[in-house]
């Protein structure tokens, strides 16, 4: 689809650029500023060049957390995206049950993030929580506060619980936007259910899937409140993710210089991966026409 060149379109985009730039530009420049200086107080500061960046890159606990973080985001995407598409396909398209399903699906998204952690903290307890009781009742000795693997799985299940609905809602809206004529044509051609999915639904979902993958990647890569409240990063440092280290550095120890360098590196990693996802999915979409 060829789009005409029209520089007046800038006028339509201008309000967006203005509102976003207002909040984006000055804070970002301030953080870049922090990352290059050693700040004792507002009057006493020294330029230190790339020292903080080198310090962050050589920090073993940050490297370990980066590994955990990448693994976590990868698993989250591999579970939530297919599950989200699947659930969206099972939902009724019309009728009185549609609003009921939509509301029930949306509920986990509406719980403030710190509360998500606190509910699961009790919900998963082996002595007084429903999940802990259930799993132990099945004969599996489960204790998320003591066993690193169990803690990991709990954080993962919590994230699936919390965020899969986002993928479902996006895909469902995407499916609803497919004109009925497409399905009628497929029915006339005698296409199988899988063929309808593969050749009609999936290509038409690529726009919402792109945003779903990017959103889930970015947010799972910056996950903070939920695991912090649930496990505090433990046992040991098994569920300590990057943003927890960053927050300890920035807010707990008030090491603004290293923390600023850390968040810029963090930002660049997310940017790099998002750009790769973006170009890959756009290419894939174009190749299929």
């Amino acid at each position: 689809m060829d789009k005409p060149v029209n520089q007046k379109a800038w006028l339509l985009v201008l309000p967006v650029v203005a509102t976003v730039a207002f909040s984006a530009v000055i804070p970002l420049m301030t953080v870049v500023n922090y990352s290059l200086q050693d700040i004792f107080d507002p009057q006493t500061r020294y330029f230190v060049g790339t020292e903080w960046f080198r310090e962050v890159l050589n920090n073993p606990s940050i490297r370990a957390a980066l590994g955990r973080q990448l693994l976590f985001s990868l698993i989250v995407l591999l579970i939530e995206i297919p599950l989200g598409i699947g659930i969206a396909l099972t939902m009724p398209r019309r009728g009185p049950w549609v609003p009921v399903c939509l509301i029930l699906l949306a509920l986990p998204l509406l719980v403030p993030w710190n509360v998500v952690g606190t509910i699961w903290q009790i919900f998963a307890r082996p002595d007084i929580g429903l999940l802990g009781r259930l799993v132990n009742g099945l004969g599996i000795p489960y204790n998320y506060t003591g066993n690193p693997l169990h803690a990991w799985l709990t954080v993962l299940v919590m994230d699936v619980w919390h965020w899969t609905s986002l993928v479902v809602l996006l895909c469902y809206a995407g499916l609803q936007a497919i004109p009925d004529a497409y399905y009628q044509a497929a029915r006339i051609d005698g296409a199988s259910r899988f063929a309808v999915f593969r050749h009609i639904e999936l290509p038409r979902l690529k726009g919402v899937l792109l945003i779903a993958v990017l959103l889930r990647f970015m947010d799972s890569f910056m996950i903070y409140a939920e695991p912090f409240v649930l496990t505090g990063g433990g046992p040991g440092s098994s569920t300590t993710f990057l943003s927890q280290l960053l927050t300890t550095m920035a807010v707990g120890q008030f090491d603004l210089g290293p923390a600023a360098a850390f968040s810029l590196i963090y930002f660049l990693i997310i940017l790099l991966f998002s750009y790769v996802f973006y170009t890959a999915m756009v290419r894939l979409g174009r190749a299929e026409g």
Binding site: A9, L102, I103, L169, A173, Q176, A181, S263
Partner: protein
């Protein structure tokens, strides 16, 4: 067909279990929550809810959140709709870079940005106002809105625009009466996501407010005291935070559900 609905039912059951536990905890005393395992409250109490409704610090938190979240949703949609249309229909100088740049504003972890945000909004005299939080949340909601809406708009064939112009429609009239109804599903889902992301965001909202615009999520952290968490009140507040968002979904349900159902294409 049967299996399809069984899967959906199982999934919804999985979603409801932790929420059921939250409701359950909110109707118990904190002592019962922490000492016994009970599927239904042994001593049913509404004291936790009474605490919230009788304390202005609590219910004003809800009001503040609702005010800035609504402001944010409306403003985000108003600026994002024309921009998304421009991105989906025209090429212009720097369009691709600009489109991706928008999303990069969601990619920075907030911890270090809090201090500069506080300084920025204090220096323009907006500290502790609803509009400050609404503006700050636009940083992550506007890019999201533009991206989602652009996807839906690109799915509408360009012939529709051209036919409308040939029929003598002006741009505003075409946009409001023909184009918007075609992407209702996208607008509904975008409105809900703007509402939701602004509703659950805690760090920025807490940094930019102190008393007058303090959000509910920040008020909730008050339940931490020397004697530990007040689980009863905290979960009651959690149950109440679900209601406004559920209402938003209820209002946009028809937009999400119908979409192209009119079969005009």
């Amino acid at each position: 067909m049967r299996i399809r609905y069984l899967v959906l039912l199982a999934y919804i059951l999985f979603l409801m279990l932790p929420l059921y536990w939250m409701v359950n905890m909110s109707l118990k005393t904190t002592a019962e929550t922490l000492t016994t395992f009970s599927l239904v409250p042994k001593s049913l109490t509404f004291d936790n809810y009474r605490t919230i409704f009788s304390d202005p610090a609590w219910y004003s938190g809800y009001l503040n959140s609702i005010i800035y979240v609504s402001l944010n949703t409306v403003m985000s949609l108003l600026v994002a709709l024309p921009a998304a249309y421009a991105f989906s229909r025209f090429r212009f100088l720097g369009d691709k870079h600009l489109f991706f740049w928008l999303l990069t504003n969601r990619m920075a972890p907030p911890a270090v940005f809090l201090l500069p945000f506080f300084q920025l909004y204090s220096s323009v005299g907006l500290f502790d106002t609803h509009i400050a939080v609404a503006l700050a949340h636009m940083l992550f909601n506007v890019p999201l809105a533009v991206w989602i809406l652009e996807g839906f708009m690109s799915g509408v064939p360009k012939e529709i625009d051209e036919t409308a112009y040939l029929d003598g429609y002006s741009f505003p009239r075409f946009f409001l009466t023909i184009f918007l109804p075609l992407i209702r599903a996208g607008v509904g889902v975008t409105a809900f996501f703007c509402f939701m992301f602004s509703w659950v965001e805690l760090l920025l909202a807490r940094t930019l407010t102190s008393v007058n615009a303090k959000p509910i999520a920040a008020v909730m952290t008050r339940t931490v005291s020397a004697s530990g968490l007040d689980w009863g009140v905290l979960t009651a507040a959690g149950v109440l935070t679900l209601i406004p968002g559920a209402l938003v979904i209820w209002f946009v349900r028809n937009h999400i559900a119908k979409g192209f159902a009119l079969g005009r294409v």
